[in-house]
């Protein structure tokens, strides 16, 4: 007999009954680590759920002789509590197939594609409207054209489009509030299991909610505190997802261009977070019901809502991934401190593990030397560079500190560089050599990844560290080439190999490994692996 229970943190567990008590071991991956946790769980389950458990696991299954539908709730509660603590009744994590990491990744990718399609539809519609407006403009006489220039006309669709950007820009004014709210919400969630959760719920959101809706101009009756909280949380998660973030930034720029208000183009590139929040709110509030009424962009909201739905899917899946990552940390911590006393609560466990993970080597992550973050020149940042289309990105010297560049490149002289490739990579007859501006990883970073891979044989370590899609290296012949003192330069992001994962500053994303590009060095493979082995010392690693 199994029932699925969704815990307050979103995790799913199946409840099972064991004839012989399984002890504390069965509580390892659940929030049940102390008597206080059990008390909190009992409170969460409440009378109705406890009665259901009693009926399903005791009465129907005849677990104990005294079990009867008429048993008082106090007795039911005591019995279930005892069985939970002793391990007769226990929870095991239960993932839906769609919650498996690989499926979550796929779902995110799919949602990104849907998002891209909806955004494309918005842009196309805007371009069509722009063309129609231009046709109208051509029909105007000189005096009317002058009035248009003075801003007296050209309202309607064009205005609605512009309003969207104005409104998104207005959100910038409260973005600090957003960030503050996100931080507070995150912190408050950690206290979910603690006694003051109601205090948080009452005290925090009242002030933030009021301030935010006033600043955004929402009709308070149309949007709930829960929606604002959820929107902020999901927006922050999506903002942290570089691929989706870039997609939306580019959309903002394309959108601005489609308005024929070119002065917006520059501003639009910095509206990433605000646009995410706008779209999510549009989706959460059912579009016109909440956002549009106050945001002046009625004509757009239907389209925005569809894009918002795709964005919501991404946000929710990212949330799933975050929960899984925390769970994985807990299991690592358990393996490190299996003999230690049980922590006080689930969230204590998470925090403790995160703290410990930074102190002890994490067996899941290859050890690499410390990497410094890119140091930008004053007034420059990653977002500025990423907002520029590939092909037009500037020389890194114009936005990075020279000493950072020097130190980064010097590392390649000292530690060498290298790269991995597959048999298929050199099989394409269109190319007889690698790109002379090929990305290479710093020698010690590459060695650390390879060592870890060799220890475990888990090809996903290579995929994660090197930015390949999950599963894309499985079953492939993989080779490594190491280059001593390679002539390299800082990547500009204009290279053929720079895709949406590229970040300014010479660090891979994900993975944070140091990378540079060959300075027009030709490595000729002639579609022949033997040539690579002979001429460049390629070593087969899988």
């Amino acid at each position: 007999m199994q029932n699925i229970f969704i815990f307050p943190d979103g995790r799913k567990f199946a409840l099972c009954y064991a004839q012989n008590a399984l002890g504390a071991a069965q509580r390892q991956d659940t929030p049940l680590r102390s008597p206080q946790d059990i008390d909190q769980l009992m409170a969460y389950l409440g009378g109705a759920k406890l009665a259901g458990i009693w009926q399903d696991y005791y009465v129907n299954q005849a677990r104990i002789k005294i079990a009867a539908s008429t048993t008082p709730l106090s007795e039911i509660s005591l019995r279930i509590k005892t069985d939970l603590w002793q391990g007769n009744l226990y929870f095991i994590p239960r993932d839906d197939p769609e919650d498996k990491p690989e499926n979550i990744d796929e779902a995110i990718r799919t949602a990104r594609t849907n998002l891209q399609m909806h955004l494309r539809a918005i842009i196309q519609a805007e371009q069509k409207e722009k063309a129609a407006l231009e046709q109208e403009y051509k029909k105007l006489n000189m005096a009317e054209k002058a009035a248009v220039s003075a801003g007296a006309a050209m309202t309607g669709l064009g205005k609605a489009g512009k309003d969207f950007l104005i409104w998104a820009d207005n959100i910038v004014d409260v973005v600090d509030i957003n960030r503050r709210a996100v931080r507070v919400v995150t912190a408050a969630k950690k206290t979910y299991w603690e006694q003051n959760k109601k205090t948080w719920g009452q005290n925090l959101a009242e002030a933030e909610y009021k301030e935010l809706i006033e600043a955004l101009g929402f009709d308070p009756a149309k949007i709930t505190r829960a929606q604002i909280t959820e929107a902020l949380e999901l927006a922050q998660l999506i903002w942290d997802d570089a691929e989706t973030r870039n997609l939306l930034k580019l959309f903002a720029i394309d959108y601005a261009k489609a308005q024929h208000h070119t002065e917006w183009t520059e501003t639009a590139g910095s509206l990433g977070f605000e646009i995410i929040l706008t779209l999510i709110l549009a989706a959460l509030t059912g579009g016109a019901a909440g956002v549009a009424a106050a945001a002046k962009n009625m004509l757009l909201i239907g389209k925005l809502e569809k894009a918002g739905q795709a964005l919501l899917t991404i946000g929710k899946k990212l949330k799933n991934l975050k929960v899984r990552a925390k769970r994985k940390l807990i299991s690592v911590k358990n393996s490190l401190t299996s003999s230690g006393p049980p922590p006080k609560s689930k969230h204590d466990t998470v925090d403790e593990v995160m703290h410990k993970a930074s102190e002890k080597p994490n067996p899941l992550v290859p050890e690499t030397p410390p990497v410094s973050k890119p140091q930008y020149l004053p007034g420059r940042n990653e977002s500025d560079i990423l907002a520029m289309p590939k092909g037009s990105r500037p020389d890194p010297k114009t936005y990075l500190e020279q000493k950072y560049i020097d130190s980064h490149l010097q590392g390649f002289q000292q530690e060498g560089g290298g790269f991995l490739f597959t048999g298929d990579d050199i099989g394409n007859p269109s190319y007889q050599s690698f790109n002379p501006k090929k990305f290479v990883m710093r020698g010690d970073d590459l060695s650390a990844v390879i060592d870890e891979y060799k220890k475990t044989g888990d090809v996903s370590i290579l995929e994660t560290a090197l930015g390949y899609d999950p599963g894309s290296l499985a079953g492939k012949d993989i080779y490594m080439v190491k280059l001593k003192d390679p002539k390299v330069v800082m990547p500009t992001g204009n290279e053929g190999g720079a895709n949406s994962l590229w970040r300014p500053g010479g660090l891979t994303d994900p993975g944070g490994k140091r990378e540079a590009v060959l300075d027009n060095i030709s490595i000729n493979h002639n579609n022949d692996i033997n040539k690579m082995m002979t001429d460049f010392g390629a070593e087969r690693i899988q």
Binding site: T110, M117, N428, Y431, P436, D469, S472, N520
Partner: protein, 174 residues
Amino acid sequence: MTSLVILENALNHDELHQFILGIPPYFIEAKTDNEEPQNVAAAFDKYIYPYWIATYDPSFPQHFSDALKNAVTQCADKNKATYTVLNWIWFYLFCFDKSQKSAAYPGLFSLDLTELQALLYTQLQQQELSLKLDSRWAGAAWNSPNGLWQPITKLCQAIERLNGPIFLPLANTP
């Protein structure tokens, strides 16, 4: 099946030829060193073959073949269409060859390339000069002395070695 949504969208909207050509939102990003109109290997491995294995839709090979033809006939950028479609043909035959000789790509569909052969044979004759002047993608100066022409002839030769159609008369190969 969620992973195949992009391809399913293309099929449902009769835009498989756009998927072939990598027209957004059908461009499939991949970790490669070189910019391409479409990352054919990734698109095939992540979408075309998995879709075939998941559905065994008997009409799919014909759809695929039609999409290759439509890409050649409908794309205004003839060089891009020729280069991309030849890349698809080569990669398909590369995989088909593997499926015949190893455990890779089991059950891969077979494709009738007869009509495409006639189409591309003519197109290559007409576009030779334009292809030689085109330095996009594999036609970059670091990779070819004569634009896309050399990579295309290499593709055609590789296709012949894989028992595929002959797209170029001998006189045209370098």
